[in-house]
């Protein structure tokens, strides 16, 4: 359940940024959650309900966008999107260890007024 701590970090950034823009209400938060970020989206949603109570983000919509993993195959010199946790190149069937996308966990944007 490290999602609570991460959601607190997201909320702190959101409240800071909203205040810096002179906004007093956060209507929506968009998070980009990489499929290999080690975070469970449902746990993030639950954590948001808990940590946003009594803040300018209370009742805001939480949009969780899943970012798929993309790997690079050095033999075929191309990127590919693996179909599961085995990062096998669809052309040469080699296993890739070069992960180009899908590990991020970021607060992408806010909707404020």
């Amino acid at each position: 359940m490290h999602e609570v701590g991460l959601m607190q970090a997201a909320l702190a950034i959101a409240l800071d940024q909203a205040a810096a823009q002179g906004a007093c209400q956060i209507h929506a938060l968009e998070l980009h959650v990489g499929q290999q970020s080690g975070v469970v989206p449902a746990a993030l949603a639950f954590a948001f309900e808990v940590v946003s109570v009594g803040t300018a983000a209370a009742g805001a919509e939480l949009r969780l966008t899943s970012i798929p993993v993309r790997c690079y195959c050095s033999r075929c010199q191309r990127e590919f999107q693996p179909i599961d946790w085995v990062y096998e190149c669809p052309d040469c069937h080699g296993l890739s260890t070069d992960i180009r996308q899908g590990q991020t966990l970021e607060l992408a944007s806010l909707e404020v007024s």
Binding site: Q17, G38, V86, S109
Partner: protein
């Protein structure tokens, strides 16, 4: 007045008319604070080899660390290419939700051990490691072993400033751990199959386990060992000994860094 921030906005007015919503593009990494502190640790630890040992509870982390501490001289002598000029000095930071039982076990080896009690937190963070490290005489260590909280999920996301991530998987846990916890195994520099002395008793299918490890964690080196009997330790010690030597070399190449703590 708005109740949230004290601005002079009239909240009774229709919100859309006076206050159109605005989209702020941020793209801020939620782990950036931990990542920053981990980099600071990495600079502080530049002259020593730092291991982050990860596994589920009961996989044999503490038994392995105990064995490493007792076998310091063997590790120092194990690098096939170089003989280490001095004996190996090791320190330990160990994380658990509660109690100092692991620290007590490890202190019996004579090595300095700092216990972190995380309370409800399911993982160690770079900040707690930095604070614990202050209690160690870092300038005189060659090896820092961080035994993380027993958990195959959350600690994967938190960089502590380590050089090597070692993920343990004991034969008593079954063959398919990598399939169930892929993110953790994908983050490993090396995977240690532990308790191999029990493999036969529990009917462990070695070929199946190695197959899953290869599929999920092709980047990881694999060591099969028993901290109890000592089986398989020689090749693991050669790996550690070499990594320690390379670390010293790296610190020497940057004069002023190694002993400036």
């Amino acid at each position: 007045m708005c109740g949230n921030c004290g601005c002079q906005r009239d909240l009774d007015a229709p919100p859309l008319a006076k206050t159109p919503t605005q989209v702020l593009e941020l793209h801020q990494n939620l782990l950036s604070q931990n990542d920053r502190l981990a980099e600071r640790n990495r600079a502080l630890f530049r002259h020593l080899l730092v291991l982050n040992i990860l596994a589920s509870p009961g996989a044999g982390k503490t038994a392995l660390v105990q064995r490493l501490l007792r076998d310091r001289a063997l590790i120092a002598a194990a690098d096939p290419l170089h003989s280490h000029p001095t004996s190996l000095q090791a320190g330990v930071i160990v994380g658990d939700l509660a109690s100092d039982r692991d620290a007590q076990r490890l202190r019996q080896t004579g090595a300095p051990v700092v216990q972190i009690n995380t309370g409800e937190l399911c993982h160690l963070e770079a900040d707690s490691v930095a604070q614990a490290a202050q209690q160690l005489d870092l300038a005189n260590l060659d090896l820092l072993i961080i035994e993380n909280v027993g958990n195959l999920v959350c600690p994967a996301a938190f960089d502590l400033g380590e050089d090597l991530r070692l993920v343990l998987m004991s034969v008593t846990e079954g063959e398919d751990k990598p399939l169930k916890y892929p993110t953790m195994f994908k983050s490993a520099h090396a995977v240690i199959l532990s308790k191999i002395d029990l493999a036969e008793v529990v009917g462990f299918n070695r070929a199946e386990a190695l197959h899953y490890l290869h599929l999920i964690a092709p980047q990881a080196l694999i060591f099969e060992l028993s901290a109890t009997t000592g089986a398989g330790l020689a090749s693991f010690y050669a790996y550690l000994g070499q990594a320690i030597f390379q670390g010293r070399d790296k610190a020497r190449a940057q004069p002023g860094l190694a002993k400036s703590l």
